[in-house]
């Protein structure tokens, strides 16, 4: 390896890292170690990785795995800067918040039309004022839960009908029960805060506004499943939250409210979108490339280090203390039959008043947009709402009357996902949107399976051709067959969902595609003739 000038510094850094770590270093420190190398030197040159790996000699990690992991994560690899540029560009283009922007509370300060349960204290109390939170009721549910048997807690959650808020909508109680029933000596709880959907930052808003609710939810879940260790798996773009969260955690630890049997820590991710998928997330915590695992076994059976692990989304865990405190009936007093409680949504895109909102499940989508979000920006007409993130789809204007719920969004062909909603006004080109989302999917494909590795690339390529005026009639068939391949043959939910946005655009807005292909015209005026070559040109 040759690292002109830096070589000596690197040597020094490695020596600093080595003595205290070598024998105690666990594979899960891998990302942290490489992050500190990158912070010192700006980048981790791939040709230096073998030497670094050999030097670190982390027990249990072969050198090839170090290289595999380091080259996988955008934050550590050379891919990072270009991937980040793309994401920021998309955020700017879609007019959604970037991870560094301050959180917006839609409807503040009196939040008309909202049912603020999880968000009740967000933006109201100072999160660093621990006693204020305690006075307001934080950690009381935990005390109550500790007086219940784990099975009673699980029973309570079961009867509330709580479903995972991360996107899959799986029964929370069932996950917990699976982990509970295992006789393994160690169990883990992971709070999934790898929030990566464009324009979705509900998790971040909760962690910033009421971290105690999340920690409390984690402690209750840990009690229920018998976990002794919990981690908040934090999206790397939220690294600026780490000092804040550590401060809050310090207060919590010092207060002793968590008790002796449960330790909480923060694990900072390294920038891969697919790590929001729970098995990929676990791989990354083990210092491996964050590719999804084969299932079964499910994480609740064999998760982190092969031990039963429950991975719950921030929003799911934040509901838990409320259910324990107020009861299952109270929880399901709002909502629909199969989507109970409240939904936490993030309004972004072409909307008058963007921000995080909490509404009862079942509230009509159009009301949320018009009443709370005050309609489209500049009095424009709404063409569609994008939901479910890059693996989601579009709900066309004609269907905006549907209620907010897992089932009605699914029926409309665009999943509710984690709750990020991007409002699309009449000025936007749907082909261009499809291309942008497809480009994101291509960038984030982990490459594990052939359909996703090759299919996401082909879809992005076809859409790019259409946007640049080189589309042909054959492209329709091409998109549909690639889409079918991805959705039915891919290894994990990422690949299965990767073509969804494009297919949804094609389904609802086929005329725009035809216009691009046959007339070489873009009504929105964003595609050809100008700036067609690269994604950077897509800002209007």
């Amino acid at each position: 390896m040759k690292l002109p000038e830096q070589e000596r510094h690197l040597e020094t850094l490695l020596t600093q890292l080595r003595p205290e770590h070598r024998d105690q270093t666990s594979p899960s420190d891998l990302l942290r170690l490489f992050r500190s190398i990158r912070e010192r030197f700006g980048s981790v040159p791939p040709q230096a990785v073998p030497a670094i790996a050999r030097h670190l000699g982390i027990p249990g990690i072969p050198e090839s795995q170090v290289y595999s992991a380091v080259t996988f994560y955008p934050e550590l690899s050379e891919k990072g800067p270009s991937r980040d540029r793309l994401e920021r560009e998309l955020e700017r283009n879609f007019q959604v918040l970037s991870p560094g922007d301050p959180v917006l509370w839609s409807g503040a300060p009196d939040f008309p039309g909202q049912t603020r349960r999880v968000l009740a204290r967000c933006g109201v109390l100072d999160p660093l004022d621990f006693s204020a939170f305690c006075t307001a009721g934080s950690y009381r549910a935990l005390q109550r839960a500790r007086k219940m048997s784990p099975e009673q807690v699980i029973q309570l959650i079961d009867s509330s009908g709580l479903r995972g808020r991360g996107g899959a909508g799986f029964s929370t109680a069932r996950k917990w029960r699976t982990a509970r029933e295992s006789s393994a000596e160690r169990k883990f709880l992971v709070c999934n805060a790898a929030e990566g959907d464009l324009g979705a930052w509900m998790d971040r808003a909760i962690l910033e506004g009421d971290p105690h609710l999340v920690f409390e939810g984690m402690a209750i879940a840990a009690h229920a499943i018998g976990a002794t260790r919990g981690y908040v798996y934090l999206r790397s773009e939220y690294s600026h939250l780490v000092p804040f969260l550590e401060r809050v955690l310090k207060q919590v630890r010092e207060s002793g409210v968590l008790g002796d049997g449960f330790e909480l820590g923060i694990f900072l991710a390294a920038g891969a979108y697919v790590c929001g998928e729970e098995t990929a997330l676990l791989n990354s915590m083990e210092g491996k490339a964050g590719r999804p695992r084969m299932r079964p076994p499910f994480p609740a059976q064999e998760g982190l280090w092969g031990m039963p692990t429950v991975v719950n989304n921030v929003k799911t865990l934040a509901q838990v203390p409320l259910i324990v405190q107020h009861g299952a009936e109270w929880f399901s007093s709002v909502g629909t039959k199969s989507s109970r409680g409240t939904a936490i949504l993030c309004l972004g895109g072409d909307i008058q008043e963007p921000g995080v909102v909490e509404v009862p499940m079942g509230a009509p989508l159009i009301d949320v947009i018009n009443t709370i979000g005050k309609g489209a920006r500049g009095g424009k007409k709404i063409k569609a709402v994008q939901s479910g993130g890059p693996l989601g789809g579009f709900i066309p204007a004609s269907e905006l009357g549907i209620p907010v719920s897992f089932e009605s969004f699914a029926a409309a062909g665009s999943p509710l996902g984690s709750g990020g909603l991007i409002i699309i006004s009449e000025d936007r080109c749907m082909v261009r949107l499809a291309r942008d989302f497809s480009t994101f999917a291509r960038e984030e494909s982990c490459g594990h399976c052939a359909p996703c590795r090759l299919g996401t690339e082909s879809i992005a390529e076809v859409l790019q051709m259409i946007c640049s005026g080189r589309g042909t009639e054959h492209d329709f068939e091409m998109l549909e067959s690639l889409g079918e391949m991805l959705s039915s043959a891919s290894f994990c939910a990422f690949g299965q969902g990767a073509p969804a946005v494009a297919l949804s655009a094609l389904k609802h807005f086929r005329s725009e595609f035809e216009e691009h292909i046959h007339q070489k015209r873009c009504s929105a005026g964003v595609c050809f003739p100008a700036s067609i070559a690269s994604i950077e040109g897509c800002a209007k």
């Binding site: 791939p46 040709q47 990785v49 073998p50 790996a53 027990p59 249990g60 072969p62 050198e63 090839s64 795995q65 170090v66 290289y67 595999s68 080259t71 996988f72 690899s77 891919k79 891969a272 490339a289 590719r291 084969m294 291509r442 960038e443 984030e444 494909s445 982990c446 490459g447 594990h448 399976c449 052939a450 359909p451 590795r453 090759l454 299919g455 996401t456 690339e457 082909s458 067959s481 690639l482 079918e484 391949m485 039915s488 043959a489 891919s490 290894f491």
Partner: protein, 891 residues
């Protein structure tokens, strides 16, 4: 548990836990796939093995498991369409210059494409520059990433089967590749060149450099170490052109190491001896067989009795070894017959016989997969016994591994505890562990009470080894010794694996006894996953001893000194047999110095360079009046001979070899003997007849075995005919219905009392000591690329990977001596000196150094000593040599 399900309307049965892909394939239903490889965990990469499950839609058959009532369709319009899309994309990034690709014809991608029915249109990959991006660094295979379909079979093979994890996926998405850990070439990585990934690669991404398709295959046994991997030799005409592992073998399950897969070109080396040689006027000159054999016969008649010594070969077959000891005893009237086990595992035979009653390993290799803890001491298994080493490495992913070794060997990377003990302090370490076990009540009291004797004496001997003493003698921190003891004693089922790091000491037998103590103390003998496994070095070192090429015993460890035993053989062989035990190898040589041994018959052993103190050994051989060497190469020893007889290699003859599991397996003749070489058994018979002896009229090795089994109760149930059908038989096998013995000592030990004998041991330091003049302690051992000297040095690829001796020394010592990496140094012991280059590495401890013994140019054994031997087994102290390392002043 059996489950039934329907496939395309047909009812199928299969066992639960099996994947649909495996079940369908077994049922003869074809399911296309690129990323499935037998015995590996499913990868789920290629997504071509799609089937439709009623109620679930398309699923990948490789990671969907059979279950009752499943309704499976293997061919629907949707399946056709989807897998065709995937395949088209795969082909679009694959070069289509198939005729230029060595894999053409056996390429899975071609096969799948023709099955699925894709006509590739055009590839984005240009075939003009077909060398671009290829990795030619390995002498045995080429990597061509352009032809890689990212199926991950190589990655999983290296991780799951080999345990080396040299390669892994790198990057993500469209930039995904398989990388040797980021190194530019595979040879810079931790790749061990075993070629298992090459064997399994479905496309031309990994290709053997020299691949010829054989006309027929002959099942045989690898001869590069005592593991005894079952192989198929591929033959074209009279040439061995390929080798592959036998995937149905319980020994190796298809796996081979670099030597086993790529090391057999030695068979056709131009250096093979093709005609007898006779020394005339100081020169070895070619002679006819008649001339050579007549000369040998005439000479040997003059040396009958104890002035003759035979050194047999642990590379030759059991039948040949049987004949050699019969020749020495019945024809030459002496018990001076020994084999190279004297230099390696004689302490095992002595120690385990004393403690357990049998001198062999107690358990089969597969027990490594089901043990609860593995304790490896004095065995660099991944280098010296790679296929067994891989098994340890993969097993250790799930169970604790303790490694005791002065060097940081590869297994240390995976060890839960690494005990870096000073060379020669094994007894202190093992007795120290025993004391911890007793002090903490971790011993198996029932086992000790019902199965062992000598406990009280043992108990009091252990008292001398408190943790403080054990720690200060071994240099291992006390808490590590205690932790290892606890781990070993409390796993429920523990295995000890050891090798020459234990035996090649002036107290080697004590070391072995200390191991046996530990196993008996914790009840870890005679159960699945619980036992003692000595890793035998040469492919038939177990067999050579079993066949009676031992001065004290006739075949089957029957003592020569026992009158009834002698009588049985005398009757069978129609001759009187000498009553007294003969000389061991080193004693023979030392007797030659005193002119009491005058003639040597050396079969297949490079005595002059393998015995400790090489110069002294060569002088002893020169002092003998007549030396016959029978070998396949003109070895360093053969060069000193008066007559050299050209032997056939294992590929050129029939016979049996016994591996370290006591398993006899058949080697089969694949080709005619090279040149005018003869199988060793034929030479022995011919010679005996010329001397006028009867009882050597064998026309095939099977007849020799028949005689041996008639005289040897523990082999009585064996025959070529039985071995033809079985994957080997493990002795004892006492009758035609006896299936052989996978595990020894299950109910009783083979001692006279039926009980295991605990040994009250004392610590004795090594005989050789460092001092101011010779301050560095040198240990020796094998590397993965070589066997000993003559065979592997004939394989250019192995020499390319490891073609030169190095002395490995610690950075502190290098700094002190002002020696740089790769600098040539002089290594001087009290007996000899040589020049080698230095390799500065943390793998050896300060004050220690390490060399292999694979090169004639740098005869490592010129440094070692044969003055003090293990008193019981007469094995030299190879592992402890005091040396001085000096800079070579540049002229």
């Amino acid at each position: 548990m059996s489950v039934s399900f329907t496939v395309d309307g047909q009812l199928l049965k299969s066992s639960k836990g099996e994947s649909l892909l495996v079940a369908l394939t077994k049922a003869g239903i074809r399911v296309p796939s690129l990323c499935h490889s037998p015995g590996l965990t499913p990868g789920g990469h290629c997504r071509l093995c799609l089937v439709e499950l009623e109620g679930r839609g398309l699923v990948a058959a490789c990671h969907t498991y059979v279950d009752d009532g499943l309704k499976v369709r293997t061919e629907t319009p949707k399946i056709r369409k989807v897998r065709k899309s995937t395949l088209e994309l795969l082909l679009a990034e694959h070069p289509l210059d198939c005729l230029k690709c060595a894999k053409s014809g056996s390429c899975r991608l071609q096969e799948v494409a023709s099955y699925i029915g894709v006509q590739p249109q055009a590839s984005s990959v240009s075939d003009l520059d077909s060398d671009a991006g290829q990795d030619f660094s390995n002498p045995f295979f080429t990597r061509d990433p352009k032809r890689c379909v990212l199926c991950g079979i190589c990655v999983r093979t290296c991780r799951e089967k080999v345990g080396a994890s040299a390669i892994d996926f790198a990057g993500s998405g469209a930039q995904l590749t398989v990388s040797p850990g980021g190194h530019e070439s595979i040879t810079e990585s931790r790749c061990l060149s075993c070629g298992e990934c090459v064997e399994r690669c479905p496309t031309g991404a990994l290709i053997k450099r020299e691949a010829e398709i054989p006309a027929k295959e002959v099942k045989s046994v690898c001869t590069f170490c005592g593991v005894g991997c079952s192989i198929y030799l591929g033959v074209r005409g009279n040439e061995v052109v390929s080798v592959r592992g036998d995937d149905r073998s319980p020994v190796n399950e298809g796996l081979l190491c670099v030597k086993g897969r790529f090391g057999f070109p030695f068979i056709h080396s131009p250096e093979r001896l093709t005609t007898p040689l006779i020394r005339k006027d100081g020169q070895l000159v070619p002679a006819s067989w008649t001339e050579a054999l007549d000369l040998v016969a005439t000479k040997l008649i003059q040396y009958k009795g104890d002035q003759f010594a035979a050194i047999s070969s642990s590379r030759c077959t059991n039948e040949e070894n049987y004949l050699m000891q019969k020749f020495a005893r019945a024809v030459m009237q002496t018990n001076n017959v020994d084999n190279c086990a004297r230099l390696c595992h004689a302490p095992t035979v002595a120690g385990l016989s004393k403690a357990f009653g049998h001198g062999g390993g107690t358990n089969p290799l597969k027990d490594l997969d089901e043990t609860g803890c593995i304790f490896v001491i004095g065995s660099n298994s991944t280098d010296a016994h790679p296929v067994a080493g891989n098994r340890i490495r993969t097993a250790a992913k799930n169970v604790p591994l303790i490694v005791a070794d002065p060097r940081r060997i590869d297994l240390c990377d995976q060890a839960d505890i690494w005990l870096q003990l000073r060379p020669g302090t094994d007894v202190a370490l093992l007795m120290g562990m025993a004391k911890v076990i007793l002090d903490e009540g971790l011993e198996d009291t029932d086992f000790i009470a019902s199965r062992c004797e000598g406990f009280d004496e043992f108990r009091s001997a252990v008292e001398a080894f408190d943790l403080g003493t054990a720690s200060s003698l071994t240099g291992v921190p006390a808490e590590q010794i205690a932790a290892a003891a606890r781990l070993y004693a409390s796993s429920g089922r523990s295995m000890i694996v050891y090798s020459l790091g234990i035996t090649e000491h002036s107290h080697g037998t004590d070391n072995v006894l200390a191991i046996a103590n530990l196993a008996m103390l914790t009840g870890n003998v005679g159960r699945p996953g619980a036992g003692v496994m000595p890793m035998r070095g040469q492919n038939n070192v177990q067999g050579a001893c079993d066949m009676g090429c031992i001065p004290a015993s006739l075949p089957g460890s029957q003592p020569i000194t026992k009158p009834d035993v002698r009588e049985k053989f005398e009757q069978a062989w129609s001759t009187k047999l000498p009553e007294l035990e003969g000389l061991t190898v080193v004693e023979m040589l030392q007797a030659a110095e005193k002119r009491s041994v005058k003639a040597f018959y050396i079969m297949g052993m490079d005595v002059a360079f393998s015995v400790a103190d090489g110069k002294r050994t060569r002088k002893a051989l020169e002092a003998a009046e007549f030396v016959i060497v029978q070998d396949i190469f003109l070895t360093g020893t053969a060069k000193l001979a008066d007559v050299v007889l050209p032997a056939a290699s294992f590929a050129e003859k029939d016979g049996t070899f016994t591996n370290l599991e006591r398993r006899l397996q058949r080697a089969r003749q694949a080709i005619e003997p090279v040149g005018d070489s003869w199988p060793d058994w034929k030479i022995l018979c011919e010679l005996a007849r010329r001397i006028g002896a009867s009882g050597f009229d064998f026309s095939a090795p099977s007849e020799i075995m028949a005689e041996m089994t008639r005289l040897t109760p523990s082999f009585a149930g064996m025959s070529f005919e039985r071995l033809e059908r079985a994957d080997g038989l493990q002795w004892p096998c006492t009758g035609a219905q006896d299936p052989g013995t996978a595990r020894l000592h299950v109910e009783r030990f083979n001692t006279s009392s039926g009980k295991g004998r605990l040994a009250a041991l004392k610590y004795r330091p090594a005989a050789e000591k460092t001092d101011r003049e010779y301050p560095i302690l040198l240990t020796t051992g094998r590397t993965i690329y070589h066997f000993h000297l003559a065979m592997t040095s004939q394989v250019p690829g192995l020499m390319e990977l490891d073609g030169e001796e190095f002395i490995r020394l610690h950075p502190d010592d290098a700094k002190h001596l002002r020696i740089l990496d790769y600098e040539e140094v002089r290594v001087i012991s009290r007996r000899g000196e040589l020049r080698v280059r230095a390799l500065v590495t943390n793998a050896v401890m300060p004050g220690n150094a390490f060399m292999s013994f694979h090169f004639y140019e740098t005869p490592t054994n010129d440094l070692t000593q044969q003055d003090v031997l293990d008193p019981v087994s007469k094995t030299p102290e190879f592992k402890v040599t005091a040396v001085r390392i000096e800079k070579v002043q540049q002229p």
